[in-house]
């Protein structure tokens, strides 16, 4: 059983990555080949020829078909083999699995599970990534660590003060009360940290032009398993959103991560920073992109190390959780709930509220209370 939920949507790529060329990428242990048909539709097929397993992503595209680069088995966009060398009849079983994909908010989402259960209405939204009122910079870093370590990392931003000091960390981040919320029906974890009077990190001072202290809000919204949103609101001290009308006296930065497992020990770390100010300022775009990538790579370095530590540790190692982990623990529990629901079958027979209450908060590595 995998450590991620099945029957869920995962980000497989940015839309801009998928074009005429064949793109190979492993998502949740499924090697996929993706391309865009002549009609603009994204296709995702299993990246293994049925004949001798040659990766189709290393093969050749002919019109909207893929011709295997080893023996010439040819597949249409649905994965059906339509030609085989010197064969008059194509074996009925000659097809590669096709995956359900959906493009939304600049992402290519792929459904990992039973195709008939795929429902695009379940895909969480990040509309600003594809909104002309925002400018977005983005990247993707390979992480040699399990996806759960990145979830832990992103759900607790108090690590900013230590791992990212001088970039996005200021003393107030680790010194401000937090509220953690969990919507049991919508499966969302929300962690709010509203700093009324805070130092302005250099990254924001430079990009917004605010001179002086700020009201800084960090609102994390995690839609497990894949989509993480950090709504960052920066305004001069005391400027709060109006009761009615647009919040146009503040600067908004939407930091988005798509956390997609590649294997049990590696993850695709998609990151984006969208802003609603200085839209055409290329210098600020470059600055935000370079700065954020630096921060992401600081996390990657730390998590790659953690993966080797976790892999090498003894069974039943007991970690310690404290108050800053409240959101991370909530995320782990929702993931456990989704894993159980994803394994259970058909829609309509998924776990109800009573079952949900029985899903333990404690992850396998959590300590057993001794009090």
């Amino acid at each position: 059983m995998p450590s991620w939920p099945l029957n869920q949507w995962y980000v497989a790529a940015y839309s801009q990555e998928v074009g005429d060329d064949l793109l190979g990428r492993t998502i949740c242990n499924e090697p996929l080949v993706m391309y865009r048909t002549s009609e603009g539709e994204v296709v995702a097929l299993a990246d293994r020829c049925v004949h001798r397993r040659f990766p189709l992503s290393m093969s050749n595209r002919v019109d909207d078909s893929i011709v295997c680069g080893y023996h010439g088995f040819t597949y249409d966009k649905g994965g059906q083999c339509i030609a085989a060398p010197a064969q008059k009849r194509i074996p009925r079983t000659a097809r590669v699995p096709s995956f359900v994909v959906h493009e939304q908010d600049s992402f290519v989402w792929v459904w990992i599970g039973d195709n008939e259960r795929a429902d695009t209405a379940l895909i969480p939204r990040a509309p600003w990534l594809d909104d002309p009122a925002y400018t977005t910079v983005r990247g993707m870093e390979p992480l040699k660590a399990r996806y759960g370590l990145l979830v832990d990392n992103l759900l607790d931003l108090s690590h900013e003060t230590y791992l990212h000091g001088g970039y996005i960390g200021t003393p107030e981040v680790a010194e401000t009360p937090m509220t953690t919320e969990v919507d049991e029906e919508a499966n969302v974890v929300y962690v709010s940290r509203h700093m009324a009077d805070a130092e302005c990190p250099s990254l924001y001072a430079r990009s917004t032009g605010i001179d002086g202290r700020i009201t800084r809000w960090q609102d994390i919204e995690y839609h497990p398993p894949c989509l993480y949103l950090l709504h960052s609101r920066i305004a001069p001290v005391g400027v709060l959103p109006p009761e009615d009308g647009p919040d146009d006296q503040a600067f908004h930065v939407e930091v988005v991560y798509a956390i997609t497992p590649e294997t049990e020990h590696s993850t695709h770390d998609f990151w984006m920073v969208a802003r609603d100010f200085a839209l055409d300022d290329q210098e600020i775009s470059t600055f935000l992109a370079e700065n954020n990538r630096t921060v992401v790579l600081q996390d990657v370095t730390a998590l790659d190390v953690l993966e080797t530590v976790v892999e090498g540790e003894k069974d039943h190692y007991q970690e310690l959780s404290i108050n800053i982990d409240t959101g991370g623990l909530a995320a782990r529990r929702l993931l456990q709930k989704l894993i159980a629901q994803g394994e259970a079958a058909p829609v309509g027979e998924t776990a109800g509220a009573g079952d949900v209450a029985e899903v333990a908060v404690r992850a396998p590595a959590e300590p057993v209370p001794t009090a």
Partner: protein, 70 residues
């Protein structure tokens, strides 16, 4: 091992999610006290987030079925 927490002066919880079944945990950093609110309105304090989540998740079992549970 851990003594029961003291009640802290807490700000009202920031309410961002508006669903029917929202658990809410508030922490004031000048203390080590977490206060958890079930969606029925009842609250509970602890200094151990694992114990607090255990309390919150078990709590709906005591609800009137019409009180918000699915």
């Amino acid at each position: 091992m851990t003594e029961p927490p003291l009640r802290a002066e807490l700000p009202p919880p920031t309410k961002m999610l508006t669903g029917r079944s929202v658990y809410r945990v508030v922490w004031k950093l000048n203390t080590d006290v977490l206060v958890g609110y079930c969606w029925c309105g009842e609250s509970h304090e602890d200094v151990d987030p694992i114990a607090l989540w255990d309390w919150l998740l078990a709590h709906p079992a005591t609800h009137d079925p019409a009180g918000g549970a699915r």
